[in-house]
């Protein structure tokens, strides 16, 4: 698999028997927990905010256009407990990121796993059980 910077890597598959993600602030029904999307791109911004954090990632599509995807996780206290700190995803960081996409097709997902490609460090903002 090519790991060219900002190249799009996309995979969606059904997860038989998948259980619902745990969401505390609001329901997570806008996300499809039976599907998973994995993309490679470059961090545009890490919004480390309550009650949810958003990692914005610029992904280059096959036609050369760029789509900004938003990956949603819990707020800073949970992120720190999951060993995901703001400095781990500085703007410009190359990442491979995985989550459950939105049902309505907008480019956003419930973030379950991130790999920082500069050193292949893995991050699990919802715990390893949600992403393996």
């Amino acid at each position: 698999m090519t790991r060219r910077a900002a190249s799009a890597v996309f995979a969606v598959l059904a997860l038989v028997g998948a259980a619902s993600l745990a969401f505390a602030h609001h329901s997570g029904t806008m996300f499809d927990d039976k599907k998973e999307v994995t993309l490679e791109g470059v961090v545009k911004e890490f919004q480390y905010t309550n009650p949810h954090s958003w990692l914005l990632v610029d992904v280059t599509n096959p036609d050369g256009t760029v789509t900004t995807w938003g990956f949603e996780a819990e707020g800073p206290s949970t992120m720190m407990l999951r060993k995901v700190r703001r400095s781990d995803f500085a703007p410009g960081t190359k990442v491979r990121i995985t989550g459950h996409p939105m049902k309505d097709g907008r480019p956003a997902a419930a973030w379950t796993k991130g790999v920082r490609l500069t050193d292949n460090t893995e991050f699990y903002p919802r715990g390893r059980g949600q992403a393996e």
């Binding site: 609001h26 806008m30 009650p51 914005l56 819990e74 206290s77 949970t78 907008r106």
Partner: protein, 305 residues
């Protein structure tokens, strides 16, 4: 948005619904069936929460009000709830709460909607207060500030503080009382246990898929630190609009590792980040409003959607 190129598949195991409470902490032991049964029976022996509170106070020979700091337990640190979030599930012995027909219907409706993938949180979606007793089961960080004259039980979820007055004051007179999100709580110390009575609660949802509590809801809690990393709350719920007979549950709070002290309680504001704004759809589901990072949404916004 151009369609991304599908170049392969990934393998993954079944996704597990790991509870947030598991973050950084082991799951503590649950109460034994015998212990739960004994406490459940204690609730049934008393017609009202106030009767139970008075019985516990008598058993503590009046309890202690405004004890010196030196006699108070150390509840410092950061804590998270470890355990379930339901008020209508079975106890350790398998006994189910006896719900009123209205409460049972509400639970069934919630289950039906959940099976259809429909859910909306009437309280938390726009950072409204979770209220009490839902406060007992919400996730995220908590801090407990124990002082002689009052104890503050705080939670990061929508910035709340419950004040438990232990200075000998009484509740407001019934004719002067008014509904409160977290109710009015008074208590006493029985050794290292904090015993609390709460009334003046507001009629509102007890949580997603849970019944609606009434203003007649009153509760008794007994809080105790049972080991260096665990605080246990035994809770008795009395609300004739929800429970045909009193219900007992136990919730445990585990201390969160924070060796470098980088972890702090932070303020919540649902409009701090526009990407967190959600709304209730016509079919009763939860949906995000416009994202700041999607041009399609921006176009709809400009069109006055």
């Amino acid at each position: 948005m151009a369609a991304p190129r599908v170049i392969g598949s990934v393998s993954c195991a079944v996704v597990l619904a790991a509870a947030l409470a598991a973050a950084g902490a082991q799951q503590p032991a649950q109460p034994s069936a015998a212990d739960w049964q004994r406490k459940h029976a204690l609730g049934l022996q008393h017609r009202t929460a106030w009767d139970l509170y008075l019985a516990l106070r008598a058993a503590a020979r009046g309890g202690r009000q405004t004890p010196p700091f030196s006699q108070l337990p150390d509840w410092t640190g950061l804590w998270m709830q470890a355990g379930g979030s339901t008020f209508v599930g079975a106890g350790p012995t398998g006994i189910m709460p006896k719900l009123t027909p209205a409460a049972a219907a509400a639970v069934k409706e919630g289950q039906t909607l959940a099976a259809q993938g429909i859910s909306y949180d009437e309280n938390l979606s726009d950072c409204g207060p979770p209220g009490f007793p839902r406060w007992l089961v919400i996730p995220f960080l908590r801090e407990f500030v124990v002082r002689p004259e009052q104890t503050w039980l705080s939670s990061e979820t929508v910035n709340n503080v419950r004040r438990i007055y232990t200075d000998g004051r009484d509740h407001l007179k019934p004719e002067d009382a008014y509904p409160l999100y977290y109710g009015d709580s008074i208590g006493f110390w029985d050794g290292q246990k904090l015993v609390v009575h709460t009334n003046s609660l507001m009629a509102r949802s007890m949580g997603r898929g849970q019944p609606t509590q009434s203003e007649r809801m009153e509760t008794v809690e007994v809080w105790e630190k049972v080991d260096p990393a665990t605080i246990v709350a035994d809770v008795w719920l009395y609300d004739p609009a929800v429970y045909a007979e009193p219900w007992h549950l136990q919730r445990r709070y585990r201390q969160v590792p924070n060796e470098d002290k980088a972890l702090r309680m932070n303020y919540w504001n649902c409009v701090e980040n526009p990407n967190n704004e959600v709304f209730k759809t016509p079919d009763g589901n939860t949906q995000y409003r416009d994202f700041t990072f999607t041009p399609a949404d921006d176009q709809r916004k400009e069109q006055g959607r």
